[in-house]
């Protein structure tokens, strides 16, 4: 009995000391700090850069504690996020691919940011118009750009020299490009392609760029019309098809299949098998790492001679910060977004990712402009011909259908006009239904 009593007394004493310690150390200002969960798609060094920013935010904000949780990669992140939103267990804030935004916003998975933006008088004017546009859907802003990609034409200067071309001059027109491709294409003694000047769908499809580069538009926003069969778009696809006719589908596909993997030293542009490619700004970081000896340049993708106004076209896609539907601490989440979306902070993150930042005020920041090639990608973001894929309710289906049409045409299964007419009809019907 006595020992039990003593034990109880000891325990009480222990509890007393413990609570005193806690009070002294000040760990329990209960309810004073709101925890904001932030799901993101980054891993490794990129996640580390983000964690650094989050720590800085937490240090400077006494009332908000952001907890960053990596969902392990791009598609994993989006799948888990969708499941969580659908199941009512959404995080408070998350990043979202701008190519995911339209379907998500249309289906009510996101919270519009407009009221937060106006309430806190957050200034949107520093964003490039195209960066703002990629976070908007149906007249509302659902996401703010954190970092993004632009696309340009990369060329191998040594191969240009070898072919007798001026190594410092990229093609300005499609006609120049075609002529250069001829000079830059080399066949071995069996007639097999050993080196090619350019491949329109390498390293992946870039039809979303060729459309605007030819002066075409995929969507008429004013009349809500799908315009995949726009004369300029048809012309762009015919150009791509002509390429495969001239150099032969089978020869190209055999040649292509011998290419090494992307993001390794064996990538066909690094090894000189392909003299020009359409690529993103991250190559300015990739090339020193994987192919340090490569002598290369970047320039806007050319446009047809009779469409000089289309020159400087690029496509962009990026990562946005969004507040998912069901966020339990939306206003605290907005505080975090607002802080992250300061040029200094978002710029730091974009620099760590070797991506293009979305802010005009960083246009001359040496971090992004010292490298002449990277500067080309930076400038493209401000181009009047910078485009994002149409932010419409059926954007993904549209992109998939365009991709299939492109494949069918390149393989010679269908004429360009017919394939694009079909896409227009189908997507228009789906769009009309989605309203």
């Amino acid at each position: 009995m006595a020992s039990k009593k003593r034990l109880a007394a000891k325990f009480t004493l222990f509890a007393l000391i413990l609570s005193l310690a806690v009070l002294v150390l000040g760990i329990v200002p209960a309810g004073a700090r709101t925890t904001v969960t932030f799901w993101h798609s980054w891993t490794g060094d990129e996640a580390k850069a983000l964690e650094g920013l989050i720590a800085e935010f937490n240090k400077t904000h006494e009332d908000i504690q952001v907890q960053g949780i990596s969902q392990g990669g791009w598609s994993n992140h989006h799948q888990k996020l969708l499941t969580a939103v659908s199941g009512g267990t959404a995080p408070d804030v998350a990043n979202l691919g701008s190519d995911y935004l339209p379907e998500w916003a249309h289906n009510g998975a996101l919270t519009p940011l407009d009221s937060y933006i106006s309430k806190s008088k957050y200034d949107l004017s520093d964003f490039y118009p195209i960066s703002l546009q990629m976070g908007r859907f149906g007249g509302k802003t659902y996401g703010l750009a954190l970092n993004q990609d632009t696309y340009a034409l990369l060329w191998n200067k040594d191969l240009f020299k070898k072919a007798g071309l001026d190594p410092e001059k990229a093609p300005k027109t499609i006609e120049e490009l075609d002529a250069m491709v001829e000079k830059l294409t080399v066949r071995d003694k069996d007639g097999k392609i050993a080196q090619i000047g350019f491949l329109p769908d390498f390293p992946w499809g870039h039809f979303d760029l060729y459309g605007p580069a030819f002066g075409g538009s995929f969507y008429d926003a004013r009349n809500k019309k799908i315009t995949a069969n726009d004369a300029e778009i048809v012309r762009a696809l015919e150009w791509e098809q002509g390429f495969y006719k001239k150099y032969d589908v089978k020869s190209i596909s055999t040649f292509k299949s011998g290419f090494g993997a992307y993001a390794t030293g064996n990538y066909a542009f690094y090894t000189g098998k392909v003299a020009m490619v359409v690529e993103g700004e991250w190559q300015a970081a990739f090339i020193p790492k994987f192919a340090p000896k490569l002598n290369w340049g970047a320039a806007p993708f050319p446009s047809p001679k009779d469409k000089p106004g289309a020159y400087g076209a690029t496509t962009t896609v990026g990562s946005l910060l969004v507040i998912p539907k069901g966020s339990k601490h939306a206003s605290e989440a907005w505080e975090f977004i607002r802080w992250m979306e300061q040029p200094r902070n978002a710029g730091k993150f974009a620099a760590a990712l070797h991506n293009v930042p979305a802010f005009k005020s960083l246009a001359d920041d040496p971090e992004f402009t010292t490298d002449a090639n990277f500067r080309v990608f930076m400038r493209l973001l401000g181009s009047a011909n910078a485009r994002h894929w149409p932010q419409i309710p059926v954007a993904n289906m549209y992109a998939t259908e365009i991709g299939s049409a492109e494949e069918a045409v390149v393989l010679g299964k269908k004429p360009a006009k017919e394939a694009l007419d079909e896409v227009t009809r189908k997507i228009q019907a789906a769009l009309d239904k989605a309203k």
Partner: protein, 307 residues
């Protein structure tokens, strides 16, 4: 079943009741799992198939509109055709290959255990890894398959990027996963009564006659089982086309499950995807019933007589 054979609960003795309780208790993890993770989702998807549902908003009842839309959806028919192709062409090839392999592995040769292991090992490898290995094997420029064809003087196709060869390439990949069915065939082969084979031998039957007249009829129940499982599996094929071709080139390998997945998770058309799922369920059910109905003609049960 007549009423007399059905034991009524209140007629059970205490002992029987207790046993019933324990029995149910011990299988309850499965029953609960089945109810919660299988039956409930199935019921929900049946309901969703009659609604306009996008994962977030409340489903709106639209009757049979999803099913009507299916009929006019070109990609639905394309994906159905591709899936049928993989089943109709793939299943016989797979069956012949795995029965043949099992017969070979049933011979009395040295190192049998080693061979059996070798042929089973690919089935242990995850589908993603298998697919990536096969993408390399099928590579037209440096893949071993076309190198081998080259030795025979054949210029091999660009398997996965060719509209004609992409589907056969997937079937070829599937042959790597025959391990489990080979095991079942092997078990069946060991059950073939030795006396029958000996009797046939005494009557002067050759090896082929023994195979076709005795062995195959005797293992036909195993073939039956594997064909049913194969039909179900082949209609649901998803991972290989997703990884190896993503439905391309120009939808040549857009299989049913891949199209369903795109509708559900890329286009947010969960109601439509549910309708797709139930149509697939109907098709698989129909095929299974058909195979069952014809089975009396080609499946031989030793003990069941004309069952």
């Amino acid at each position: 079943m007549s009423a007399a054979t059905v034991p009524r609960l209140h007629r059970l003795t205490r002992m029987q009741r207790r046993r019933l309780f324990y029995g149910l208790f011990f299988v309850s993890p499965w029953i609960i799992g089945f109810l919660w993770f299988t039956l409930y989702p199935m019921g929900a998807s049946l309901y969703y198939s009659f609604t306009d549902y996008n994962l977030i908003k409340t489903p709106q009842w639209i009757g049979a509109a999803n099913f009507r839309e299916l009929l006019g959806d070109e990609l639905f028919w394309t994906s159905l055709y591709n899936t049928f192709y993989l089943t109709v062409v793939g299943l016989p090839v797979t069956t012949i290959f795995s029965v043949g392999l099992a017969v070979l592995l049933n011979q009395k040769i040295r190192g049998l255990a080693f061979y059996r292991t070798i042929y089973y090992v690919p089935s242990v490898v995850p589908i993603v890894a298998t697919s990536i290995v096969w993408m390399w094997l099928l590579n037209p420029a440096y893949g071993p398959i076309n190198t081998f064809l080259g030795w025979l003087g054949i210029s091999g196709p660009n398997w996965l990027r060719d509209m004609v060869w992409a589907k056969p390439a997937l079937i070829l990949t599937g042959l790597w996963g025959v391990g489990p069915s080979v095991i079942i065939y092997l078990a069946a082969l060991q059950e073939v009564p030795q006396q029958l084979l000996e009797a046939a031998e005494l009557d002067g039957a050759g090896a082929w006659q023994k195979l076709f007249r005795i062995t195959l009829p005797m293992i036909s129940p195993a073939v039956f089982f594997n064909v049913i499982m194969g039909v179900i599996g082949s209609f649901q094929i998803f991972a290989q086309p997703l990884i190896m071709t993503n439905g391309g080139p120009a939808n040549a390998t857009l299989v049913y499950a891949l199209y369903l997945f795109r509708n559900a998770f890329s286009y947010f058309k969960m109601g439509y995807a549910s309708a797709l799922a139930w149509v697939l369920f109907g098709i698989i059910l129909l095929c299974t019933v058909l195979i069952f109905k014809t089975s009396a003609r080609w499946v031989y049960y030793e003990t069941g007589g004309n069952r």
